[in-house]
């Protein structure tokens, strides 16, 4: 028995129960939901700088994932990104925000603080040890803070979960939470190399080429051509 349980897949496959239409509808609805997550404009600590400001800005661009419409009102949002540690004073307020969010609502907890209390786990009088003490979390993104690409990985995991997950026949029943760490084959070295080449691209200039590209340089070239053809 124990062996069989260990081998159970993460998702329990359900028979359509004779209603093909509902399954197809589920797929369409889930696809729509997963591609139009509206995050709540809300951050509790330093992770928020990375999670909502850096990812939302032009370079990383959250819009590519259909989740850029950050709402300042919980009533219009369906994704809560818990970016950082939560203090005891904030906890009931965060719970209140969660309860006011539109359903179905999803929660991503980013950073070690939101996962377990992180560096504030011990001897802290005020930090709550993990967002899951307050609200049910769907995806955990480890890091301190996670890099924007790690956050995107978590977001994509959530989207995948939504697509595979819920059915309108049983709203609110979905996959158990997962930890979405960047895969191992993406190393710091890769990231560094990428940043390095981006830096070179941004900061190095071929002077002769740049001078040639100036609009007035063309004018001069035309003159020279004209005078030499004469």
């Amino acid at each position: 028995m124990g062996v069989a349980l260990e081998k159970l897949p993460g998702i329990v496959e359900r028979f359509p129960g004779g209603s093909v239409a509902v399954t197809q509808l589920d797929q369409a609805i889930n696809l729509a939901r997963s591609n139009s997550l509206w995050p709540l404009m809300f951050g509790t600590k330093c992770c928020a700088i990375e999670m909502l400001m850096a990812t939302g800005a032009a370079h990383h661009d959250l819009a590519r994932f259909g989740a850029e419409v950050a709402r300042a009102s919980v009533r219009q949002a369906d994704l809560m990104v818990i970016a950082g540690a939560i203090v005891k004073k904030m906890a009931p307020r965060m719970r209140l925000l969660y309860e006011q969010m539109a359903e179905p609502r999803y929660v991503i907890a980013t950073g070690s603080c939101a996962i377990s209390g992180g560096p504030f786990m011990y001897n802290s009088y005020t930090i709550v040890r993990g967002a899951d003490e307050i609200v049910p979390v769907d995806v955990y993104v480890p890091g301190c803070p996670p890099r924007p690409e790690a956050f995107f990985w978590g977001l994509m995991t959530l989207q995948k979960m939504i697509r595979e997950g819920e059915t309108i026949r049983e709203p609110g029943i979905r996959r158990k939470p997962v930890m979405a760490a960047l895969p191992e084959d993406v190393s710091m070295h890769d990231i560094r190399r990428e940043i390095c080449s981006a830096l070179i691209e941004d900061n190095v200039v071929d002077v002769a080429k740049a001078a040639d590209e100036k609009p007035w340089a063309r004018k001069v070239r035309e003159w020279i051509q004209k005078s030499s053809s004469r």
């Binding site: 005891k88 004073k89 786990m121 001897n123 802290s124 009088y125 005020t126």
Partner: protein, 154 residues
């Protein structure tokens, strides 16, 4: 005014102050019951004119059974600054409030009350500042404990 001159001047006005060594600027300590009188002189004397209470904080010294209160003053006109420290008994931490001299002290003293539990005499509004009103205890005291806290395993 350079620190030595500053301290000499203050000493000539108020002879009970004691200098403190190992400070990067003029620093002195005074008994708590003389604090208010000294602070009034520091603020109003034309040669001193400490018109700005930059910060106020407290240090818990459980071994010496006291709190050390620290006031950092700055004189915007003369450009000199000064640390004033005083000590209060840890079991009965009552000190006069300096709100009457620098209104900003109201919040700074509330913060120290909130986290250390120092009581300020004649403070207009001594309530919690950062913690919830129903919080029990003063968490920045070295001996603070509550049931939520987790000890770091040795």
């Amino acid at each position: 005014m350079d620190p030595e001159k500053l301290l000499a001047l203050i000493e000539s006005i108020c002879p009970t102050v004691r200098h403190r060594a190992h400070a990067d600027r003029a620093a002195l300590s005074i008994a708590a019951d003389e604090l208010l009188a000294l602070m009034a002189v520091l603020r109003d004397d034309p040669a001193l004119r400490f018109d700005f209470l930059v910060t106020h904080t407290a240090i818990d010294l459980p071994d010496e059974k006291c709190f050390e209160l620290v006031y950092l003053l700055y004189a915007s006109e003369h450009g000199h600054s000064l640390f004033v420290t005083t000590r209060v008994d840890r079991d009965n931490p009552v000190v006069p409030s300096v709100c009457g001299l620098w209104p900003i002290a109201e919040w700074q003293e509330r913060e120290v009350y909130d986290l250390m539990g120092v009581l300020y005499d004649e403070h207009p509004d001594l309530r919690r500042m950062f913690l919830e009103d129903d919080w029990v205890g003063f968490p920045l005291r070295k001996d603070y404990q509550d049931e939520h806290m987790l000890e770091l395993p040795k």
